[in-house]
């Protein structure tokens, strides 16, 4: 076991194809967010209420990130450890069922819970700050679960067995060996969840909370000032960058190196009857509250108003858009992750932050940044009107800007498992950057790439605001349909498309969950 800090400082950065591709990818992903900040600086938004909106919003966002993020991390890390390193009743099913809540957008969970608890006589009303924190924790913990499980699954058996042979209890092994080793994964998943919370508008708005995201829309919609909206968004973006830097910094000091080369299936602790039952109830409760209950409620509403023929075309559109958007974003994310992994200087690692910015801003704001850039390009005579092709291009660009980070995270975590010596050895043997990328980075990161592709697919499937504002004429997706009905306060009609978003996301997510188990070397099943 080598837990020693061994940073790979072997060469000066050099310009090669991979670096250039990564630089271009970074530019594509970061431009809308940078545009938002630049436009915020030059617009005079009428900051009369800006200060108050930002102060109040920042406090709200901070509180929600703290409460919801902690919940997501605790739920995600605990369940990941349970299903990966323990044996208890139902473990095999829980292993993949636990990811299902990822398929539900926060705004749909919020709507479902609000109407459900209201109709149920409000035994425990899901509302206000607590309601939102609950929705975030229950809906976003799978991000942490996935990343943490991949991290636990790739741990060295030797480290765990050594601890066990030295007489450590399961809990002690968890706290002192498994958890510290899995920290990069948990941190990456937790960061995603936190940024999702910061960017969320639908659920926060629904529960009547003041956050930076709701302040953005208050400035835009109530005060009619897109300029002020951009300024508040810029605050959110800068805060996200600081957050990312801190997160990277906190885990960057220690580099984790590959451990033993002797891979074999992880031994699992047999939990006793009581502990096993508790574990099963805990995992079961997360699935019931995160997926089953809202799904059943939506199904009930959808049956009350079955508008199947209205959502066939949107369903096809959603799948096509999500698949294409995921493919494009995945390519960009892979280039960024690989280049950053090879880089040894802060400048070389900067694409990670640049790509991450867009993730913490509401999609509508990134879309507004892209729209403004388009407006400038049009005034300069570079492009014509937003026809079908151009608006789709703008849409894919916005997806990349918004979600690159969701792809970069898993890929980077996958590459982190790459022994630092491999790349150096390949270079010594004369392999160029593309060859090393194709023959070392790619195969090792393949499971993470698959994971990233599926996450991106589901993210884009759930995405609403950018799709709403940038799509071509007569082109509706499921999320657009759900929004249209919900904004018209027709929750019955909104139920069917919402349910379909949920269901369409479940399949890729389960594939994702199952593929991670195979990501462990030496495990063939």
């Amino acid at each position: 076991m080598t837990l020693a800090a061994t940073p790979a400082r072997t060469r000066a950065p050099r310009l090669d194809g991979v670096t250039v591709a990564a630089a271009l990818a970074t530019l594509v992903c970061a431009t809308p967010a940078i545009a938002v900040i630049a436009l915020a600086l030059i617009s005079d938004g009428g900051a009369e209420f800006g200060g108050a909106l930002i102060r109040e919003g920042a406090m709200g966002t901070f509180g929600l990130v703290l409460a919801g993020g902690t919940g997501a991390i605790v739920f995600g890390a605990t369940t990941a450890w349970l299903v990966t390193l323990c044996r208890f009743p139902g473990r095999g099913i829980f292993e993949w069922l636990l990811v299902v809540p990822l398929a539900a957008p926060s705004y749909i969970l919020a709507y479902a819970y609000a109407s459900m608890t209201w109709a149920g006589g409000a035994a425990v009303p899901v509302q206000g700050f607590g309601g939102a924190a609950f929705i975030y924790a229950i809906g976003l913990y799978p991000y942490v679960y996935l990343a943490a499980r991949a991290a636990f699954a790739s741990q060295s058996v030797c480290a765990l067995e050594a601890a066990r042979m030295l007489g450590a209890s399961p809990l002690r092994v968890f706290w002192q060996v498994a958890l510290p080793l899995a920290r990069p994964g948990i941190a990456a998943g937790g960061a995603l969840a936190c940024m999702e919370i910061a960017a969320d508008y639908g659920a926060a708005q629904h529960f009547g909370l003041s956050t930076l995201s709701t302040a953005v829309f208050r400035a835009w919609y109530a005060h009619g000032s897109p300029g002020l909206a951009l300024q508040i968004s810029a605050v959110l973006l800068v805060a996200a960058m600081v957050f990312l830097l801190v997160e990277r910094g906190a885990r960057g000091r220690a580099a984790y190196s590959g451990g033993s080369a002797r891979w074999r299936p992880l031994p699992r602790y047999q939990l006793n009857a009581v502990a096993g039952a508790l574990a099963a109830v805990f995992c079961g409760a997360l699935i019931v509250f995160g997926a089953l209950l809202p799904l059943m409620w939506l199904a009930r509403l959808a049956l009350l108003h079955a508008n199947v023929q209205d959502i066939v075309q949107p369903f096809v559109n959603s799948l096509a858009l999500s698949a294409s958007g995921a493919a494009i974003t995945l390519g960009l994310a892979a280039a960024i992750a690989v280049a950053a992994r090879r880089a040894t200087t802060p400048l070389g690692k900067s694409p990670l932050f640049a790509a991450g910015m867009g993730y913490a801003a509401p999609g509508a704001v990134i879309a507004l940044g892209a729209l403004s850039l388009f407006g400038l390009a049009r005034e300069a005579g570079l492009v014509g009107g937003l026809g079908a092709a151009l608006s789709l291009a703008a849409l894919f660009w916005t997806y990349a800007a918004r979600f690159a980070s969701a792809g970069v995270g898993p890929i980077d975590a996958g590459l982190a498992r790459l022994s630092t010596g491999l790349d150096a050895s390949a270079r010594t043997l004369g392999a160029g950057p593309w060859r090393r990328f194709a023959e070392i980075d790619l195969p090792i990161a393949a499971p993470s790439l698959a994971a990233a592709a599926l996450i991106l697919f589901v993210e884009i499937l759930k995405e609403l605001p950018a799709t709403l504002i940038l799509r071509p004429f007569n082109f509706d997706t499921l999320a657009v349909k759900a929004y249209s009905y919900a904004s018209d306060e027709r929750l019955l009609e909104a139920a069917a498309p919402s349910l379909l978003i949920f269901l369409a996301g479940i399949a890729p997510i389960i594939i994702l969950a199952r593929s991670i188990g195979r990501g462990r070397a030496g495990v063939t099943s």
Binding site: A327, G384, A438, E439, A450, L468, P472, D488
Partner: protein
């Protein structure tokens, strides 16, 4: 060295394990594009940006196509976002018509210089003067009233006969309201500023704010539900949410309405605040004639009678009968102010809400 790199480049796609999936994804991207272009084959169409999402509107589009042969291509979205898209597109926009609920939204489009004035005999004849822009930038085609809902077992209707009553000490801790980020709320206060001045409007907003049972949250329908559930005794909403719940397929919705009554407020005073859904021709419309034709169709006998039973708004033309349940609620006195007042006082309304803490 260079050769190694070349070979690696050739090998890269082969050793990329996900390449088959990549191909599928690429193919579907092409399919998406093709699907989008498919609709644009014939050029007998008119493009509409609309912030209205009613199914009834699709019946209108079909009716227009049947009557004129012109296809309506719609892009739905929130009014604020569609406005920003229109702004960014400038003279290159594909949009010919901009449609939205609430005159405040339409005023913003006019204020941004993105409407052109249109005046035709048909439009002038059919749209009442207080339900259209004075210069012809936008024209109403349906009408909605802002009503007070109250819990029947706690409030007598005469106790909520006016908007002022919601600010009385009688209702301390008994009022729920929608967020002031919502245009309906802004327009309601803007109308008050027009009639009674900013000081009066501020005092009213502060008095109602003092009676809140909870921080503003949820939709118009959520306010009705909160009143029914006993969280509060009264609230304000657009009439058609009330009537839609009354007709709902969900028995839970109908139970809500059984507990709740409504009044058209201020019948003894200035009349109930009304607002419009309307549309205008965009400043850079490429198909101006068809756009005007579409606006005229929206207020035609055919469209107005078609809309009446399909949704719960009032027709813009008073001689067209609304849906039976709306007709049963009886005629009511409407507030009569220039429509553009809702836009002109919008910023001030937002400021007042901010100042009194009505988020």
């Amino acid at each position: 060295m260079r050769n190694v790199r070349k070979i690696a480049l050739l090998e890269a796609p082969l050793s990329f394990r996900l390449s088959r999936r990549g191909l599928v994804l690429g193919a579907s991207a092409t399919a998406t594009l093709a699907a989008c272009n498919a609709g644009g084959g014939q050029d007998n169409f008119v493009n509409v940006y609309t912030a209205r999402h009613y199914d009834a509107d699709r019946a209108l589009y079909a009716g227009f196509q049947e009557a004129t042969g012109v296809e309506v291509r719609a892009l739905t979205g929130s009014a604020e976002q569609l406005l920003e898209r229109l702004r960014a597109e400038g003279d290159q926009t594909e949009a010919d018509v901009f449609v939205s609920a609430d005159a405040g939204n339409l005023w913003r489009v006019k204020d941004a210089g993105l409407f052109q004035n249109v005046t035709t005999a048909t439009l002038q004849e059919n749209v009442p003067e207080h339900l259209r822009d004075a210069e012809g930038a936008y024209w109403g085609f349906t009408k909605r009233a802002r009503i007070i809902v109250y819990r029947k077992d706690a409030v007598r209707p005469e106790e909520v006969a006016s908007m002022d009553s919601l600010g009385l000490p009688r209702f301390r801790g008994q009022i729920v309201m929608r967020s002031s980020s919502n245009t309906y709320q802004l327009s309601t206060l803007a109308a008050r500023i027009e009639r009674l001045g900013a000081e009066n409007a501020r005092a009213w907003a502060a008095a109602v704010r003092a009676n809140f049972a909870r921080d503003p949250q949820g939709s118009d329908s959520d306010q009705i539900k909160a009143v029914a559930a006993g969280e509060a005794q009264a609230s304000v909403c657009n009439h058609y949410y009330y009537f839609r719940m009354m007709r709902s397929e969900d028995p839970a919705d109908r139970e809500v309405i059984e507990k709740v009554g409504f009044v058209f407020p201020d019948q003894a005073g200035a009349g109930t605040h009304v607002n419009i859904s309307g549309g205008g021709v965009t400043a850079n419309a490429k198909r101006r004639d068809r756009a005007v034709q579409f606006l005229e169709y929206l207020v035609s006998d055919e469209a107005q009678t078609m809309l009446a039973p399909l949704n719960t708004e009032f027709p813009i033309r008073s001689e067209i009968a609304p849906a039976p349940d709306l007709a049963a609620a009886g005629p009511f006195k409407e507030e009569n102010i220039p429509l553009d007042a809702l836009g002109r006082h919008q910023a001030e309304a937002a400021r007042i809400f901010e100042e009194v803490g009505w988020s």
